[in-house]
Amino acid sequence: MPPAVSDCPRLSPEIEKSAAQVPRRVFQLPAEGAPWREALAGTNLRAEPERRTSEVLLDSFDRRLGDAGLELATLPAPHGVSCRLGIRTFELERAPVFVWELPFTLARELAGILEARALRPIGEHALVVSSWAVLDDQRKIVARVEEELHELRPSAVREPRRIRRLVVQGLRGYDAELARLSALLEPVAGLVPAPDAGWSLGAPPREVGRWPRLAPDVGAFVALARIARAQLSILSANQAGLLANEDAEFVHDARVAMRRLRSLVSQLKGVLSDHEQQLLSRELRWLASCTGAARDLDTLLFELRMTEPELRAELEPVLLLFAAERERIQAGLCADFRSERAQALRSRLRAVFSGKGAAECAGPKAGMSFAAVLGTRLRRRWKQVSTLAGELTQESPAVELHELRISCKKLRYLLECCRGFVAKDELAGAVGHLKGLQSTLGTLQDSAVQAQLTRRLALELTGGAGARAHLALGQFLERLARNGTTARARAAELTAEFLAPESRTGFKAILRALEPREEQAP
């Protein structure tokens, strides 16, 4: 990990918003410039040194920071790189690649957005600012007038996009001065008021695996095939990253796509022929299971890397050992994904869902309405989850909680298929609720699996690792146990919410929306 040269302050969203609220006016400048200085002839202006920056913008390949409205940029500094996230700046020894390489406070803040996704340069942003301070009678700065020349160059694009702007930057408490300057500048020929928007480096990469738009009367086989094709495109988009072990999210996303596909194939009985359904379920289960060990270790490594700096420094020998184990697992994972069996599965999936093999693979319910098939299956799954949730107590063994989690996951995948059939808000409420419960149960399960894995791998930790590493490991295990206890308590609350009458009413509304509509009288 490149150690942070300086810490990065943690800013609440309110602070970020407030900083952005410092008033300013933006004008677009034509390439030949505009005579704005004449308009400010009676104003006390003091030229400030010209500023030039050339930042490299970083984001994950799927633009997670950009989607969250964040901009992370780096530029060379005497002792490494100077980083900027919005208005915050900090220094690192080298450009960060993963969230845990950022200063701890910031890493915690961004962990939910970036997870284990790798950061990569997505373009350059060069800026030249000529600035003038507007002074009052005390020679206090009350505003700034800045001429900006931006050059935006997305990666792999030669010609930069050039933008010239004139910005009147106000100061808190000096609003009248900003209004006066704006009034003087507005009539200047060539100056066009412009929105104060952020920078976009062009269109984000094509969204892979977008959920298909399904018509209300779509047939079950056609709907399943379209959903399956979307999942296959996710699997295919993540395969190169998974094989290169670029980051842990490639394994995760590929795994989720496989799980969703298998869950739907096996839950929507009768849409595929029995033979096809059993074959695909079995083979998808096998391929997904090949990623299990890697995913478990990735989750554990993420937890270890996200511990506070003092503990993490002591856990360094443990991290090295576990990272080496992850490398070893990677070799097996690549072999499985490149195997003939995996290739045969991918070919089979393409054949079944691309439309060519539809006639042979179709089951008895293939021609039925997708909504009807979905509704029947949803009702049964809902009952199962309700029964399992109702039987839970504070003393329920882990295996029962795990069973509930799996059922919740299956129910969620079915609910996701209701997009287009059910009102957005109703569906979002039910899915969100279920996701919360499932995620809490996941934390509970993860903490148990991680503790088990840690204990197993720690046996290989040699004496050379030092007593501190062993003590730190003990501390980490205690933390996992605490996480598990907290998650269990939270799971009880969420289960009660799931079983509440309001939740049942919401679910019934979803089922009603899936029922066939009566023909309207002419």
């Binding site: 302050p9 943690r10 800013l11 915050r88 700046t89 900090f90 700065i141 100061l171 808190r172 408490g173």
Partner: protein, 277 residues
């Protein structure tokens, strides 16, 4: 949000200078920072060229959130705002004396500001008052510039005792040697004593410098250019305070009894010097 208060029972020890520099350095590191000038002299506001707004009434600051926001002014530097003061601040003191729960009102105001600022630096007046009592209750750390002199050390020992209840609640007391003049024997002796014993003093020492006095005339923090050695000392002080604020475990205690012993021995040495001369 962390609240740093610059305080000393004595005046003229470098509170305002330090407050201005700590605020400027905090803002320069990208933190959204507010310097709240709580001294009716308004020296920090003067240095940062910020004047109190015409419609801002100090006594309303703690009662009316809007009034509090409206009183804040941007400084010449990004991320640094100032809540300025002038002589009218005296009315705040009398309002606090009449208020039933002044400490709660002050803490609430800071809490409101905490939604907008990552770091708040309070430049306090010397001595003890209703206002300083509120500060002691609400601050995370009390930064105490201490001149290496007998009176300053005595004042520090008294302050340490005075804020015992607040220390127990978690208030950190962070004294450091200020205006250190190595040409003076007493300054050297105090420095050697502090260095040897630690006593909870911050390791950074701010040397006496004419440049610091010049700063008030130029109305420009030395950290703006950062070329002078004293500017480097302020930067290292800011870093050290950040480390202490972020530390999980509390820092070393002051060692008040050792400090008092040292003062007694100094007194004895001084009288010995007098009798021999």
């Amino acid at each position: 949000m962390k609240v740093l208060a610059l305080h000393n029972l004595k005046g003229g020890v470098g509170k305002t200078t330090t407050a201005v520099h700590l605020a400027h350095l905090s803002a320069r590191s990208g933190r959204s920072t507010l310097l709240w000038d709580l001294d009716a002299q308004g020296a920090a506001s003067w240095i940062l060229r910020v004047r109190v707004g015409k419609d801002t009434r100090p006594r309303r600051l703690l009662r009316d959130r809007e009034n509090l926001w409206e009183a804040i002014r941007g400084s010449d530097w990004p991320c640094l705002d100032v809540l300025p003061a002038d002589l009218s601040l005296c009315k705040l003191e009398s309002w606090l004396q009449r208020e039933d729960e002044p400490e709660r009102a002050f803490a609430r105001a800071l809490q409101d500001l905490g939604g907008r600022y990552e770091r708040i630096v309070l430049d306090c007046p010397p001595g003890l008052s209703s206002l300083t009592a509120c500060v002691f209750k609400a601050a995370d750390a009390l930064v105490v510039p201490t001149i290496p002199s007998t009176l300053s050390l005595r004042a520090l020992a008294s302050l340490y005792q005075h804020v015992k209840p607040e220390r127990e609640r978690g208030l950190q007391l962070l004294p450091f040697l200020s205006m250190l003049d190595a040409r003076k024997a007493l300054h050297r002796e105090v420095r050697a004593f502090v260095r040897e014993k630690g006593l909870g003093f911050l390791g950074t020492e701010i040397p006496y410098s004419a440049q610091v006095e010049n700063m008030a005339a130029q109305r420009l923090p030395l950290s703006v250019s950062g070329r002078l050695p004293v500017a480097g000392a302020f930067a290292s002080l800011a870093q050290e305070i950040d480390v202490r604020l972020a530390a999980v475990r509390p820092g070393p205690k002051l060692g008040r009894s050792q400090l008092l012993e040292f003062l007694e021995s100094e007194e004895a040495r001084a009288s010995q010097r007098n009798s021999s001369s």
